[in-house]
Structure formats: C-alpha cells, structure tokens
C-alpha cells in the first residue's frame, strides 16, 4: 500500500502538499473562513488549532471538495480543489468529526464497499478490508454492524476507511474529540504510523496536547482567520510552554507570592498571575531551569507551598497569549510574525 502512496506523491521533496491562499467561505453573514493562508509540507503534519466554530471544519470541507469556497484558492497534491475535484478525490482521505461509515453495515462490509468504489478488484478489496481491520484491531468486530461499535472503534473504522485508497493527503477533522484517553492514544498511534508511511496530514483539533503529540507545525485559527502559525515549539514558547500551578499553604499569601516573583525579574518568565478563587498561582515557564528557579525563589522568601503542578497551556491560554500579544503589537497583522 505504501507503493501507491509514493507514486502519487509529487517527486520533488520539500514541496507543499497543501497550499491555501486567501480562502474565503461565508454562510450568510457568518464568515466561516475569512481569508485563510496555510501550507502543509509533504510528509508532515499541520495541526490546525481552534475552538468550536473557528472555521476548522469548513476549511477541511473546502479542501476535500465538499464545499466550494467563495474566494481564494487551494492546491492539494498538485490539484486545484475547485477546478480539479475529481482528480483530487483520488489522492485524499477524510476522517470527520462524525464517523463517515454506513452504520447499518458491518466494519468489513464498509471497507469492502469502499475498496470497490475505489476500483480495487474484488479479491484485492477483500484482502485490503481484512488487512486494515487487523491493523486497526477490529478483526473481532468485523462482522458486527458499525452502529454497535464504541466511539473509539467507530473512529478507528473511519480511519481504516480513509486508508483504503492509500491517500497521499489525509484530513483528520478533530479525530479524537469525544474519545476517552486510552482510545485517543490508539488513534494517535495510528496517525503517527500513517505519517511514518509518508502521508501528509492536516489535523484539526481543540487540544494543545494533541497538536503537540502529532503536529510538526501549528496554525491557530479563530473566527475564520489565522491568528498565529509556526512550529509547535515556537508556539509553545510563545504561549509560555507550560504553566506552573502553585498552591500556597496559606491562600492569603497568593498576592505576595505573585508580587515577589514579578519583582525578582527572573529571566524569561513572562509573568505570574494569582487566581484567589482557585487558591492558585499560575506561572508560565519555558524550561525546567525556570521551574526550579521559581520554586527556589519562593522557598528562599519563606513561602510555604502545599501543591505544585505543571500543565500544558489550554486552548484558552494559547488564545489569551496570542491575542494579548497582538494587542501590544497592533501592526502584527500577518500571522506568521509569531515565529519571529
């Protein structure tokens, strides 16, 4: 199956498998996409991070020929999404937020049908269905109707269905939304395996953690516009990498601790924020050294700490960091500035 993938791919390495320029899609007065530019280099994963209603799904639907954009253009695997939809459909795979399999049919019947629709000979379609069910650990459930599958099984079947044609570009629209952590890890493993086999992936997600796990590059989208993009590490640095959560033994000391940290002016620390309601002090940090320095400083000043934890920034925090940054640099209208 890898052969087909390689043959389909553009022979020049380092080129973009997906190029989107000025993509616009309005639904009535709602600007689902309001001039989106992005690139996905061949063989890499681009994470498109954004909240509900940001335009992620509309983007994927435009790039998979389900929706015709109002303006702008997009080229995927060398094909224009508007002018060459039929050619493009041979090279893409889509796994949506909602499983796109026939619920009444069994897992095997779904995969066989898709194989036949992709012009595989009967025998090949049969063996491909068996092979993919095996690979996605669905062999035991092969004969059960998809409606009886658990959420994770359904998502895996959906991924398997997208893989039958060995697409060179895969769109994964929130592939783990609504899944429990164990199933989520299974899906992540599969995605990583697909990438290892050479697929280019455009992944939309609401979770920073998912983006960090899977993506090489990140694009943050909000209200149909791209508000930041860059490497995962760059973006993480931008938003403070991790957040250190400190709970003092005495909640009354929160404000004093925050002030002590700010006045100390530790190198690279953007700022500490006390949240009295939660009894927590939030400190964005970039490195283990900073973590040690913060805790050390608080200890030296005689503060007693009850609990310390670190967390990846939530989507909210990412947005706060990005939009906060934008307001201090009003001229930074070009999203790519984040990387500078």
């Amino acid at each position: 199956m890898g052969d087909m993938t390689r043959n389909d791919r553009n022979p020049r390495s380092g080129t973009n498998a997906v190029e989107v320029r000025g993509l616009v899609k309005h639904y009535g007065s709602t600007k689902a996409l309001d001039g989106v530019d992005l690139d996905v280099r061949e063989g890499t994963v681009l994470g498109v991070l954004g909240p509900n209603g940001a335009g992620k799904t509309t983007l994927v639907r435009c790039l998979s020929t389900l929706v015709v954009p109002d303006a702008g253009h997009a080229v995927v695997a060398g094909y224009d999404v508007v002018k060459q939809p039929r050619q493009l459909r041979r090279t893409i795979g889509l796994t949506g937020q909602y499983a796109s399999v026939d619920e009444k049919l069994s897992g095997w019947e779904n995969l066989y049908m898709i194989g036949r629709l992709l012009d595989l000979p009967r025998k090949t379609a049969r063996s491909r269905a068996d092979e993919l069910l095996e690979r996605f650990s669905l062999t035991e459930a092969a004969k059960r109707p998809a409606m009886d599958y658990s959420g994770g099984m359904r998502r895996r079947l959906d991924l398997a269905a997208s893989m039958i044609g060995s697409p060179s570009v895969l769109y994964l629209d929130e592939p783990t939304t609504g899944l429990d952590p164990r199933t989520r890890n299974e899906v992540w493993d599969e995605v990583q395996r697909m990438v290892a086999e050479g697929a280019t992936v455009l992944l939309t997600t609401q979770y920073m953690e998912e983006a960090e796990q899977l993506a090489n590059e990140l694009t943050v989208i909000d209200q149909g516009r791209i508000i930041a993009s860059g490497g995962v590490d760059e973006l993480k640095a931008k938003v403070g990498g991790r957040t250190l959560q400190i709970r003092p033994s005495d909640p009354a000391q929160l404000a004093a601790m925050a002030q002590a940290l700010r006045e100390a002016g530790l190198d690279g620390i953007a700022g500490a924020q006390a949240v009295p309601d939660e009894g927590l002090l939030y400190v964005p940090i970039l490195s283990d050294e900073q973590l040690t320095a913060v805790i050390g400083l608080l200890g030296n000043r005689g503060f007693s700490l009850a609990h310390v934890a670190t967390a990846l920034p939530s989507l909210d925090e990412v947005f706060l960091a990005i939009t906060g940054e934008k307001s201090t640099h009003p001229t930074d209208t070009i999203p790519q500035e984040v990387a500078a």
Binding site: T15, L66, V75, R89, I92, L94, L118, A161, G230
Partner: protein
Amino acid sequence: MSTATLTPTPTGPVPVRTHSDEGRIGLRANLRHIGALARRNLLQIKKDPESMFDVLLMPIVFTLLFVYVFGGSVGGSMGGGRQEYLNYLVPGLMAMMGMNIASAVGTGVNDDFRKGVMDRFRTMPIARSSVLIAKIVVELGRMMIATLILLGMGFALGMELGTSVAGLLAAVALSAVFAAAIMWIFILLGLAMKTAQAVQGVGFLVLMPLQFGSSIFAPTQTMPGWLQTFTDVNPLSNLADAVRGLMMGGPVAHSVWVTLAWAVGITLVAGPLAVSRFRKRT
C-alpha cells in the same frame, strides 16, 4: 522548523497539474460503483427486514380492500361484477404502487443523506449520480417484488389475463420505467426539504389527488367534466390505461407513447436537478 512555512510566498503556488481527462470515470467503472452502492442498499434491507413490510403488505391490503369494498358496486356499474372490477383494478394498482414506492424513496433519501457516510461518498472518485442511481435500482427491485405479490393476489382471486405473457411483461416494464422517472422527482424533494416528515407530507398531498383523480381505481366516464379534464392530462391515467391495455387488451399505442414521453421528460428534467442538488448539498 522551515522558514519557508513560516513566511509563505503568496505568489508561489504549487504548479497545477493539467491532465484534463485524468479524473474521468469510465462507463464500466461507473457500473461497478453503482453495483457496490446497490449492494450497500441491499445489505441495509437485509439487516432491517422490517423495511420490506410496505412492499410485502401494500399489494395484499390494497387488492383485498378495493376488490371487496368497491368491487361489487363499481364492477356492477361496469356491466359485470366483482370479477370484472378485479381485472380492471390490478393493472391500476400496478401503476399506483410504483408511485407509493417512489415517494418512500424521497423520505429514505432525506434520512440517508444527512448521515456522515454521504460525506465519504462525496469525497470519493465516483460519479455523484451513481449514489442516486444505485438507490433507484434497488427501489425498482423492491417494486418488482411488490408487483409479483400483486399479480399473485390477482391470479389467486381469479384475475384473467386478456392478452399474453409478453403483454404482461411489457406492462410491468412500462410501470417500472415510469416509477423510475417519478423517483427522480422524489429524490429531488428528499434532497431539497429539511426533514423526512416534510417529504412524506408533501408526497402524500401530491400523490393522493393524482392517484384518485385518474383511471387507476375507477373508469372516468361518470366523473364530472372538469374532473375528466384533469384525469385526461394526468399521466397516471395514461399509465394505468397503458398497463391495463397491455394486460387486458384494447388499444394501447397512444397511452404507451404518452406514458413513455412523460417518463423521459420527467427523467431529463428531474434527474440532472437531483444530481446537482446532491452535489451542492453541504
């Protein structure tokens, strides 16, 4: 991290491939796709046998109801009796059942096409019409089963074929062709309307006057003049007359040609509209 990705050049898109016929879907591939999709519809029926109840019961219920409720009286006024009416009714019912099955296609399509699997079909390299054609093929199969049961009922109650087996087969074929045309209309409705209930409601309101305001259930001679004007132009009258003529004898040429003309006309208009609606549905 690649700086190229961070600062894309807005003027440098990937060269667009230009092979214009690369995406064409050949006839054989198209038939194969229709086969695979029809198989899907058949599997759905196999897993949900209750969905065949309409096809199994409709011919039995309608035949018994009309023959025994109206048979004596209508048949009497036709100069015969219940037997006379049975010979009149069964060809009419054959024409009618196609319409009822066609309207069920509308609700089925509405239901089906709101599901995620349609997104998958629409992102695959298949002709979008093949999804709709597969549905029609399977529904015609369902109609054939209903027709067999109807004919079985008719013969069991004593219906006499006035022509030949060839005439009977021609009658079945003609009603199938016309039903297929009507299915395009209901597919279009099913795609255009928001809910399956709405499709069902509209289907019922449209079909009732068309079916009863025709020669399906009773001869039109005793109807008032204004109604006869309607029944004369009603294509269901032509279909019923044609089927009746092919099965029981009498002149058929005019009604057969008019029915075929309707079928072709409806297909040519509603077919492309339905496919384009399916293409654009988001």
